[in-house]
């Protein structure tokens, strides 16, 4: 377990925790992007460079920005006025903590049977491209259709009602 893993992990955790708990939404999104970058680094650490860079492209580049747009358009940038009641927030955190505890317990009890392949598998984008075109061609097509549908749906949904109606 390398020291770098611990540093990146810490960064990701701090970023995500801050994203979830800050009052100002913009700050949340920014800390979220930090977390996501941490994640990408983890992918790289694990040897999946292509995935790491996709992560940065998609999440950091697009999703975060999209979130900021959404925040701006819904005028929820001003600081949060009233927080939800303590009991509500507490129950949420509590349930999340139980979920984490159960998962951790599951992971720790299952370590014996987990495979421990320590060698770094070499994977190149070429292999990924070939796999996409051969083995995973159907999912690729489906993803294409899905993305276009999402694109059209998002556009219609976000379109200004009044324009369409005139």
């Amino acid at each position: 377990m390398t020291i770098s893993f611990f540093i990146i992990a810490a960064i990701t955790i701090v970023g995500t925790a801050a994203a979830m708990s800050l009052k100002n939404l913009v700050h949340c999104v920014l800390s979220l992007t930090l977390g996501l970058v941490g994640l990408a680094l983890l992918f790289l650490l694990l040897g999946a460079q292509f995935v790491g860079f996709t992560q940065i492209l998609v999440y950091v580049g697009a999703v975060a920005i999209l979130a900021v747009f959404a925040i701006m358009m819904t005028r929820s940038a001003e600081p949060m006025t009233n927080l939800p009641p303590a009991s509500f927030r507490l129950s949420g955190v509590l349930i999340a903590a139980t979920v984490f505890a159960v998962l951790a317990w599951a992971i720790s009890s299952a370590t014996r049977s987990l495979p421990s392949q320590s060698s770094q598998p070499e994977v190149s984008v070429n292999q990924i491209g070939v796999a996409l075109m051969h083995q995973f061609v159907l999912p690729l097509e489906v993803i294409g259709v899905l993305l276009t549908a999402a694109l059209v749906g998002a556009a219609i949904l976000a379109m200004d009602e009044t324009g369409a109606s005139r």
Binding site: G92, I95, L103, A110
Partner: protein, 700 residues
């Protein structure tokens, strides 16, 4: 089969016809009623005399004196029930006696009842009674006899209760009918049993009748499961009928109460004819009664006849004993009749038909004479019946006194001249020669003594001494006898229409005895169908003389005793105690109340019947009805139970079910509260549960 036998049915039918016409007649005329009754009675009397003459002629010409005429009544199954009538010496004698005495009494009662407003109804019932009585006499079929027997019972009920507004008379009538009905029911069972055994109820049917030898011998051979010979059983049952009708010992209680009826009724029915019907019945079925399995020649009386003798002798004694202590003039005569009937039964038992019947005939005359005499006494004393309130009538009513004295002497059996002596002597003689036991003879003799005693007591009370007829007596109007109110206060002689019958009857009371004296026993031979011859030696033979002497001594002793107690110094005031009674007051009062038999019967049988009736009524109301009620209530109970179950269990159960469903529905809908995070939490919860479950599963 000459005219009279074929038309003998006219004798009973004429009076019945007269009764019918007077009942239906619209106009209430006394003359019509009286003339109809007396006319029909005299016609019957003439026919009876003709029949008597016919029988005499037959006897003289040696032909069988029994003639029968049967006819078919109705058919059931393949056999016909046939009825009929017969003419034989017994019938002839009874016919003449009944019609003659009846005629005299009819004439007498015209005078006696002249002031009574129900005059017509009285004569209608009297005529009906005479018809029924004559029917009993001539019938040749036990069933026809029983039918007329019951109608006789009905008319006696109607006549006793003639003055129905007087509750005592109504009760007496009812009592008479019921007590005689007890005897009649047993008689009826006897008839039915006889019919079952012998197949016919005809007395004589040229060989097939049940009184004829073949049927009798058949009956003798049969014995019931309990061992009594059938002939005896039937005879005893028939005798029960006679006991009921003739007022013998157990069923005698109705006769004294029957004195509530008008005096002519008592004379006709309760002295001469009806009560004699019982004796006549025993005489009529004598062949059956006397049938016994013993050797024909030895006169060993059959058990039935022994029973008749014992009952008869006991009743004779019993009646005489009670008569001594009576105060009502008619009750004395009633008990005397009970006693005399006991004599007749004893005569039949020990001596056979002729002995019993001779006494019956003579008794009919002098007893009706006495009753009519008593009637004229009551008529004279305007309704007074208590001998203590009379006295000194001998001088005031000479004719009644003389005739009454003759009747009294005949009844006591005063030696030689009076008919009672000869007939009673026959019975005592027969009792004396009875080979079973001498007890009846002694009881008969003692009864004769008592008879002389109480009759002399009565005569001295009524006719001797000074008149105790106190003045206040006049306003004390006896409810029933208000008819005889005359202007003059003191008692007086009755009118001719009443005294003439008295004289005729007294003549007969004297002369009739000579018909059956031992010297010239014409009457007995007439009945026995035996040739008759005058022989004065008969007195000496067969112990006849000592019996005659002893009975005369007894009678004289009785009379002197009577004179000693009552003739010497008759009581002065009405409420003075009876001279004889003073000797032993307690016994005297007991006898006065007829040894409390009425009270005994009342306490036992009457109470038992009312108790049983109350039980059966209770049984009806509670037990059977109770069963039905319980059934209905159980059914109703089930109905309510079912209703309860239905409403509470089934119905509410279903409602509960619906409520729970709707409540749980409401509960579940709370989950869809619209808060998205709520859903997410639930999903997270589910995730946690599942992972735990999976891990748990994996670990095992």
């Amino acid at each position: 089969m000459n005219w009279i036998v074929r038309n003998l049915w006219l004798v009973p039918v004429l009076p019945v016809l007269a009764a019918g016409i007077s009942a239906l007649a619209k106009r209430k005329s006394r003359v019509l009623a009286a003339s109809l009754a007396i006319g029909s009675m005299s016609l019957s009397f003439l026919l009876s005399v003709w029949a008597f003459a016919h029988v005499l002629a037959l006897r003289n010409s040696g032909q069988p004196s029994l003639q029968v005429f049967n006819f078919r009544w109705f058919q059931f199954g393949n056999e016909w029930l046939s009825l009929g009538w017969m003419l034989d010496p017994l019938t002839a004698v009874m016919l003449v006696m009944v019609t003659f005495v009846g005629l005299l009494i009819f004439i007498y009662s015209v005078g006696y009842m002249e002031h009574d407003d129900n005059f017509m109804r009285f004569f209608c019932f009297l005529a009906l009674f005479a018809g029924a009585m004559l029917g009993v006499i001539i019938s040749n079929n036990l069933l026809l006899l029983f039918m007329c027997w019951e109608i006789v019972g009905l008319t006696s009920y109607l006549l006793i209760g003639f003055w129905f507004s007087n509750p005592k008379a109504a009760a007496a009538g009812k009592k008479a009918f019921i007590v005689t009905r007890i005897g009649d029911v047993l008689f009826f069972l006897g008839i039915v049993w006889l019919y079952a055994q012998s197949g016919t109820l005809l007395f004589y049917d040229n060989g097939a009748g049940f009184l004829e030898h073949s049927a009798i011998s058949h009956l003798l051979t049969q014995t019931t499961t309990t061992g009594i010979c059938v002939a005896t059983g039937i005879a005893l049952l028939i005798f029960c009928g006679a006991v009921g009708k003739s007022g013998q010992f157990p069923l005698h209680v109705w006769l004294p109460d029957a004195m509530e009826g008008p005096t002519p009724v008592s004379a006709l029915i309760h002295a001469a004819t009806m009560v004699a019907a019982g004796v006549f019945l025993v005489a009529r079925v004598y062949p059956l009664m006397s049938a016994h399995t013993g050797l024909a020649d030895v006169i060993t009386t059959s058990t039935a006849l022994q029973a008749v003798t014992w009952v008869g002798s006991f009743t004779a004694l019993f009646g005489a004993v009670i008569a001594v202590a009576q105060y009502d003039i008619k009750r004395i005569l009633a008990y005397s009749t009970v006693s005399q009937l006991g004599y007749m039964m004893m005569g039949l038992g020990v001596g056979g038909v002729s002995v019993g019947m001779f006494h019956l005939i003579t008794h009919a005359f002098f007893k009706s004479l006495l009753f009519l005499g008593a009637g004229s006494v009551i008529h004279g004393c305007s309704g007074e019946q208590d001998i203590r309130k009379m006295g000194g009538l001998g001088k005031l009513m000479p004719v009644t006194f003389v005739t009454y004295a003759i009747g009294m002497l005949a009844l006591c059996g005063f030696p030689l001249f009076f008919s009672g002596f000869w007939s009673k002597d026959e019975i005592l003689h027969a009792a004396h020669t009875w080979n079973i036991s001498q007890a009846p003879f002694y009881m008969g003799a003692f009864a004769a003594l008592l008879t002389a005693f109480y009759m002399s007591r009565q005569v001295f009370y009524v006719f001797a001494g000074t008149s105790r007829l106190a003045e206040e007596h006049h306003d004390h109007a006896h409810a029933a006898d208000t008819s005889s109110h005359h202007g003059s206060g003191s008692p007086h002689e009755s009118p001719a229409v009443m005294t003439v019958p008295l004289m005729i009857l007294s003549a007969f009371a004297l002369l009739l005895g000579f018909l059956g004296t031992p010297a010239w026993p014409w009457f007995q031979s007439f009945l026995e169908d035996a040739p008759v011859s005058v022989n004065f030696g008969a007195f000496l033979t067969g112990g006849m003389l000592p019996v005659m002497l002893s009975s005369s001594v007894i009678v004289l002793l009785g009379l002197t005793l009577g004179w000693w107690f009552f003739g010497r110094k008759p009581i002065e005031s009405a409420d003075a105690p009876d001279n004889f009674g003073k000797l032993s007051p307690s016994i005297f009062t007991a006898l006065g109340n007829a040894l409390y038999f009425d009270a005994i019967y009342g306490a036992t049988f009457v109470k038992l019947t009312t108790l049983l009736s109350r039980i059966s009524d209770w049984l009806d109301r509670w037990v059977w009805n109770g069963a039905v009620q319980t059934v209905t209530y159980t059914v109703l109970g089930f109905a309510h139970l079912d209703n309860f179950l239905d409403t509470n269990v089934v119905n509410s159960g279903f409602d509960e079910g619906c409520d729970t469903v709707s409540r749980s529905g409401k509960l579940l809908s709370m989950l869809q509260a619209g808060r998205i995070q709520g859903y997410l939490k639930i999903v997270a919860g589910a995730l946690v549960v599942f992972t735990i479950f999976l891990l748990w599963k994996a670990k095992i």
